[in-house]
Symmetry: C2
Amino acid sequence: MPPRACSIANALQVIGERWSLLALREIFFGVRRFDQIATNTGASRDILATRLRTLVEAGLLEKQRYNAHPPRYEYVLTDVGMALHTVLLTLMSWGDHHVTQGEPPTVWRHSCGAELTPRTVCASCGDEVHAPDLTLVRADGLGTDE
Amino acid sequence: MPPRACSIANALQVIGERWSLLALREIFFGVRRFDQIATNTGASRDILATRLRTLVEAGLLEKQRYNAHPPRYEYVLTDVGMALHTVLLTLMSWGDHHVTQGEPPTVWRHSCGAELTPRTVCASCGDEVHAPDLTLVRADGLGTDE
């Protein structure tokens, strides 16, 4: 039987590898060049090159030439890649609360002037989403525990 | 130079592997037993066993015995694991919009009665967070492109 069809699985086909997400984090931070992304993430150059190529092919990043002789490129987010900021912020928030010891290492300011605390809400009612408030309505039909 | 200290990196030390997140997805869906998690994710049994052990050690899951003879266990989310629902929902939403072809395979209903569309907002002003509205205030001090 094939595994459950699911957008989480589909998303992880594209970004389900830590070096991919860490590279995307750097580009969100404004770091665009291979050497600095490698330094800031700690990724090996071979793995990073492979991950960046995959992200370009998947349409999350574009390579832009910033130097003609010799040819040099930097990485910029497409709209699809940019839309991942919610995933990165939510992951950061969970890490701040449940993994990182001490103060959050990274702080963002929102355009309203406040330091950003991201919150996941229901678009319909605006209330914060808590796991017990959710009921599964539809999922690809794979078995549950008997 | 060590890589950038960051809660995204810290979080990915725990859950930065697609089989870990897919196993957590199943447990959110209410599937608690090894065989069914393996079937629904498509993970190999060896890899799944390793990932579940890591998640138990990291405090995201607990093993509970549901049968004495022979001893059989199921996996339940701790509060720390449960808090990851925001990450899974945000990842699902991005996958629905940018990767999955066709209708979203998974639909949740919120307690307000609406089908859930998760939205990431600023806790202070309540506005949806868009990437251009964010300014980096503090980050571990690693270089940017020169």
